[in-house]
């Protein structure tokens, strides 16, 4: 019993790290561009397919593929912001929801057209490798995913905190108009934020690929999952995102272990609705601009 619990906790934390990373991308885009991106999980799906094909066609290891996939997703994000979002930014919130829903539909169905609905996974030498750490077994790719996520978080944090551009991102997140008065080119910051957010989703996709499968609608569940994390952790709060990501991972594995694997998704969507109802500001304070996207 004790070992089972410990195992569940460890697995939960490991996967939670990746969830946090993915959600961080969503949160960054929200915080800076003030867009709730319904296609966020689909960006991850794109990255997962990219990893799959790079591996299958050219034998490129997933962890090497990140060097291509992350920049590609960055560019995809920049493209979406420039071509889809920018022209309608400032129009009604409903229109913006429609736009990102449309992007999601296009990406999912392009994937379906190109690759059919099959589940695709990569079989690397380390896919099923396990580390025997006393009472618990630790899956090697999950451990790598977790460690990489934490490292990226640290990098993101340092970037936002200590670079000029990072400060500009935070400034725009707080007050766009004043940021312009500083000479900060807000439109470019939006592009950067969307690009970075997409790249984070992409990297999360890469990290999950050794132990997950790609299929066209895989993104929907991760979009919702990212939202669960972001809402739980507080919109605009990076620290909150980390904690909430780990918490969601824990909830998932604990309910999966002790109740039933069937219940785990019900658990976090249920939790999501309950959180939205009782504490929409999340547990780490209300982010700036939440009222703008309709959260009181």
């Amino acid at each position: 019993m004790f070992e089972l619990t410990l195992q569940a906790i460890v697995s939960g934390l490991l996967v939670g790290g990746v969830y946090a990373l993915m959600a961080a991308g969503l949160n960054l885009i929200f915080g800076v561009v003030r867009i709730i991106n319904f296609a966020h999980g689909d960006l991850m799906m794109v990255a997962m397919y990219a990893v799959y094909w790079l591996f299958t066609l050219s034998g490129i290891d997933p962890y090497v593929a990140v060097l291509v996939v992350a920049p590609a997703l960055f560019l995809l994000g920049v493209f979406l912001q420039r071509v889809v979002i920018r022209p309608i930014q400032g129009s009604s919130p409903l229109m913006i929801i429609f736009a990102t829903v449309a992007v999601s539909l296009v990406l999912q169905n392009l994937a379906l057209m190109l690759f059919q609905g099959d589940f695709r996974s990569v079989q690397t030498s380390y896919s099923i490798a396990v580390l025997d750490a006393g009472p618990v077994l630790v899956s090697v790719p999950r451990l790598i995913a977790f460690a990489a996520s934490i490292l990226l978080f640290a990098g993101l944090f340092l970037f936002l905190r200590y670079t000029y551009v990072g400060k500009a991102l935070r400034a725009v997140a707080e007050n766009r108009t004043v940021a312009r008065l500083m000479g900060i080119r807000v439109e470019r910051i939006y592009l950067l934020a969307f690009g970075l957010g997409s790249a984070l989703a992409g990297i999360a996709g890469v990290l999950m690929m050794p132990f997950a499968s790609a299929y066209p609608t895989v993104g929907t569940i991760y979009t919702l999952l990212a939202f669960v994390v972001v809402v739980l952790g507080g919109l605009g709060s990076m620290e909150g995102t980390v904690v909430a990501g780990l918490a969601v991972g824990l909830i998932e594995t604990l309910t999966g272990t002790f109740i039933s694997p069937a219940v785990k998704e019900i658990a976090y969507f249920g939790l999501f609705i309950v959180i939205l109802l009782i504490r929409p500001q999340g547990f780490f304070g209300l982010g700036k601009g939440t009222e703008e996207v309709g959260l009181k």
Binding site: R34, G90, P93, A102, N109, L110, F269, P280, E292
Partner: protein, 333 residues
């Protein structure tokens, strides 16, 4: 006005007589499906009167379908009664969403609606003792009006037509009632209306409940139309949450006739793509939806309807002082 009435009478006559002249089963199926989607889209659209976008109507749809089917299959209660219970159950689901709606707007309401439908789908999948899980339930073939089961397509056609008319009529009534008027006023400024003492929350709740009940009823119809019911279809996000929403948006959100138009145009188009090209190109159907939607959002935010009325729905510039020099800024011109 007069010409409109004549057109309406002609359209009505055409709709009623259609099965007499159209003998092709495929065409009749297409017509049934189109009417069904007209009903579903119009029902979905009721919620948009409150300025909310639901992408979780599959929840009400599935609740209605499952309730009537379970009552019939497990307890032998005929669908005529089952449908009434189904509407009540959908309304209960609607009440839950009302709780969500009074607190959430914008993307958060939308997200909660998606999560709601997902949860119900999962419940339907995993509560095997009740629903037989993903295996699904078969509605036994016992033809007769009381069982809503027929040997030919025509009765289904007329039921679909009646439901579509009912749904559109609900929208029409709501739109032109004082409730509808408050809702439209509130969708631009909820707080201000609340402050004026208008009970907006009650009006919004009414709109959502009408919408949920009507959607549940359509769920019952669809269950009996295809007589196999299982979670991934009947709680399908794509088929019953997204598709009515897309029809509505493409046709013209927040109007009575826009969503009808959207469903009339997009359903046959979608079916055509799915039937003739779907075998080669799975996904094309929704890809087209997505692309049309992207174009609509960009160049025609009022949907098809705005071409007809000639009045482009104004992009209300509520996005705070942010984009003050943005392209959408009215003062710039």
């Amino acid at each position: 006005m007069k010409r409109q009435r004549v057109a309406a009478v002609l359209a009505g006559a055409a709709a009623v007589l259609l099965p007499v002249f159209v003998r092709s089963q495929f065409a009749l199926d297409m017509a049934i499906l189109t009417l069904f989607y007209v009903g579903l889209t119009a029902a979905w659209n009721l919620v948009t009167f409150s300025g909310r976008l639901s992408l979780g109507h599959a929840a009400f749809f599935g609740l209605g379908a499952y309730t009537a089917t379970l009552l019939f299959v497990r307890a032998g209660i005929p669908p005529v009664i089952g449908a009434a219970v189904a509407v009540v159950v959908s309304l209960l689901g609607g009440l839950l969403m009302v709780l969500v709606m009074v607190r959430l707007r914008g993307p958060f309401f939308t997200l909660a609606s998606i999560a709601f439908a997902e949860v119900l789908q999962l419940v339907a999948t995993h509560w095997r003792s009740l629903t037989d899980g993903s295996v699904g339930l078969h509605i036994p073939f016992r033809p007769g009006w009381q069982n809503l089961t027929f040997t030919s397509k025509e009765p289904y056609y007329y039921i679909a037509l009646a439901l579509a008319v009912l749904s559109v009529w609900l929208g029409h009534r709501l739109y032109h009632s004082s409730t509808g008027y408050f809702l439209r006023a509130a969708s631009s400024d909820e707080e201000a209306c609340q402050a004026l003492g208008v009970n907006i929350k009650r009006a919004q709740a009414a709109a959502l409940l009408w919408s949920a009940g009507m959607t549940g009823l359509l769920g019952v119809f669809y269950a009996y139309f295809i007589y196999v019911i299982e979670p991934t279809t009947f709680f399908s996000m794509e088929l019953f949450s997204l598709q009515p929403a897309l029809n509505g948006i493409i046709g013209g959100v927040g109007t009575v006739w826009g969503p009808v138009l959207g469903a009339l145009v997009m359903t046959p188009l979608g079916e055509y793509l799915r039937t003739f090209l779907g075998a080669m190109q799975q996904g094309l159907h929704f890809l087209v939806y997505g692309l049309v939607l992207l174009v609509i959002v960009r160049v025609l935010p009022g949907g098809f309807m705005s071409i007809i009325t000639g009045v482009r729905a104004r992009n209300d510039d509520r996005g705070s002082g942010a984009n003050e020099r943005g392209r959408s800024y009215t003062a710039a011109s």
